[in-house]
């Protein structure tokens, strides 16, 4: 028999397509011929494999079909997975390690820094002197010149810092007290009274520790008053006491009202006290007076970012500073004969006046201090 015919018969036999007699004949042939039998077994395996192979191909193509169709009709949504996310998924382990190292390094550095750094208290005090607008104007004109490429002819205004503050007279001979930080490193200090008269002064003594500075008006146009209307308080102060201030946060004298809110200053500083009053740059060096017209302090600074925490140097420090000045031997050479005879006013002549009258009398002894 032709081998091809045999194979076709085997296929028909396996598929059960043979008629009963033919099937009987073929089964007999299988039994008598081991070669045929072997072929039947082998071909059964093969056909089975082909069958399954076909099935797998069909189901695969159906699945792919369904997948595409469901996606196209939007019945299945692709979850949003961007390139970034894919990269993240791929590298998240690395990122985690890198981030940990960064965090550890940062912690270590900050730890070392804080361990070795000197422990200085953070100064959150803002000195209440003011920067003068002349400076800004001066710089502006320089900038304009530069921008317009004008030749820089003549002397360029020297960029000295002009500081402004307030000061008040403590002796009719022309002695004025203000804050040391109002003067700073300046050498020329000019004072201006509430009428706009300017007087040149000499810096007599600066006590940086107490933040106090003493000036003396050395101007021929200055007429010494007979007596000062206010006194300098030497004694105690009481919590809740009403106070008022006069100062030059701008070119005009400005009045402020408040109360004594604490007997000590910033971080428990006993040289100063805390007052609740509106104070702005320029108020520095101004007097803090009580209702009797006695100076109880010199307004100096305020705590930054804290509402209503203004500090004033207690007036008794003026006495102490004056005593120090008189003792300071280095000053002896250039000492003014009048220096030793400074007498702080002890009695207030405005004691029983109302506030408006008090201010009228006091204001002419309050000066705008400009230091160049």
């Amino acid at each position: 028999m032709d081998e091809r015919l045999i194979l076709e018969s085997i296929e028909r036999y396996i598929r059960g397509e043979m008629l009963p007699e033919e099937r009987k004949f073929f089964e007999d042939l299988r039994k008598s011929n081991p070669g045929i039998d072997q072929l039947v077994v082998e071909h059964t395996v093969f056909l089975h494999m082909m069958e399954k192979f076909g099935d797998r191909k069909n189901i695969k193509s159906t699945l792919q079909d369904v997948h595409n169709e469901l996606f196209e009709t939007g019945q299945i949504k692709q979850s949003k997975e961007t390139k970034v996310r894919r990269l993240w998924l791929k590298y998240r382990k690395t990122v985690a390690v890198a981030a940990s190292i960064a965090a550890i390094t940062a912690l270590a550095i900050s730890g070392i820094t804080s361990y070795y750094a000197p422990r200085t208290p953070i100064n959150q005090l803002q000195a209440l002197n003011r920067q003068y607008s002349e400076l800004a104007r001066g710089q502006k004109s320089i900038n304009e010149r530069l921008n317009n490429k004008l030749p820089l002819k003549g002397p360029v205004p020297v960029e000295t810092e002009i500081k402004g503050g307030t000061g008040f007279m403590i002796d009719p001979k022309g002695y004025i007290v203000t804050n040391a930080h109002v003067i700073g490193n300046s050498t020329i200090v000019i004072v201006q009274n509430n009428k706009g008269q300017e007087f040149s002064t000499r810096i007599v003594y600066i006590n940086a520790a107490a933040d106090l500075a003493f000036l003396k008006i050395v101007d021929s146009s200055f007429k010494a008053p007979a007596v000062l209307p206010y006194a300098i308080n030497k004694g105690n102060i009481e919590l809740g006491e009403a106070i008022f201030t006069l100062g030059y946060p701008r070119d005009e004298i400005v009045y402020g009202e408040g109360y004594l809110s604490a007997k000590t200053g910033y971080r428990g500083d006993s040289l100063t006290c805390q007052i609740a009053v509106a104070a702005n740059p320029g108020n520095s060096g101004g007097p803090v007076l009580d209702k009797n017209g006695e100076v109880i302090g010199v307004l100096s600074n305020r705590q930054e970012h804290v509402q209503g925490a203004v500090f004033a140097i207690r007036s008794k420090n003026i006495f102490i500073a004056l005593d120090d000045m008189k003792k300071d031997s280095s000053l002896n050479s250039k000492i003014d004969s009048s220096l030793t005879s400074i007498h702080l006013p002890q009695t207030s002549t405005v004691k029983n006046l109302d506030r408006v009258q008090q201010i009228k009398k006091i204001q002419e002894f309050i000066y705008l201090v400009k230091s160049y």
Partner: protein, 190 residues
């Protein structure tokens, strides 16, 4: 736990390569698998491959007739996909995270072994057919897979009569069997 009647119906439909049933399966379970794969360092293409492989496992099990599902379909598909994806991750050498530590809900090891064995056989068959070249490949696929009869095939391929087509088919078949059984016996004996 026995599966309810709808799931049984779905399985019957799947075994019969019924498009409706397959669509239902797709709609019901695909997003679960997609979430699983994408949340564990995979892409949406990975998700598609994994899901389709799992459905083929299910299909071949359902088709074998002796199939009894002892868990919910959802649980079974999830378990199969999880295993398949872990294997892929091991191949990609990607970070598998806590997926590997998650407790296995049901054993799918045996099913997957059968599946992989078959997949290997089929790959061999595919390769053998590829090596035959045309028209042998097409001729054999038309007859054995698409189940066309010889006179149809003769017409399609342009043979003058079915007898010539049968002759050609026979030659192709012998070559295929030789290649395939060569591989097959080698692989199964080694």
């Amino acid at each position: 736990m026995t599966t309810d009647s709808t799931e049984q119906e779905l399985l019957r439909g799947l075994a019969a390569n019924d498009r409706k049933a397959i669509e239902t399966i797709y709609r019901t379970y695909y997003s679960m698998v997609q979430t699983l794969v994408i949340n564990n360092s995979g892409t949406s293409d990975d998700a598609r491959d994994i899901f389709q492989e799992a459905i083929i496992v299910l299909y071949e099990k359902a088709k074998s007739g002796s199939f009894e599902l002892h868990a919910q379909l959802k649980t079974y598909i999830y378990a199969v996909c999880r295993r398949l994806w872990l294997k892929k991750l091991a191949v990609y050498k990607r970070f598998s995270g806590d997926l590997a530590n998650a407790r296995e809900t049901i054993a799918t090891e045996d099913d997957l072994e059968i599946f992989e064995h078959r997949t290997k056989d089929f790959e061999m068959m595919e390769e053998a057919l590829q090596n035959l070249g045309e028209p042998c490949k097409e001729l054999l696929e038309s007859y054995y897979i698409r189940k066309k009869n010889m006179s149809e095939i003769a017409k399609e391929f342009g043979y003058t009569n079915a007898e010539n087509a049968k002759n050609q088919k026979y030659k192709c078949l012998m070559r295929l069997k030789k290649i395939f059984f060569g591989h097959y016996n080698n692989n199964n004996n080694s």
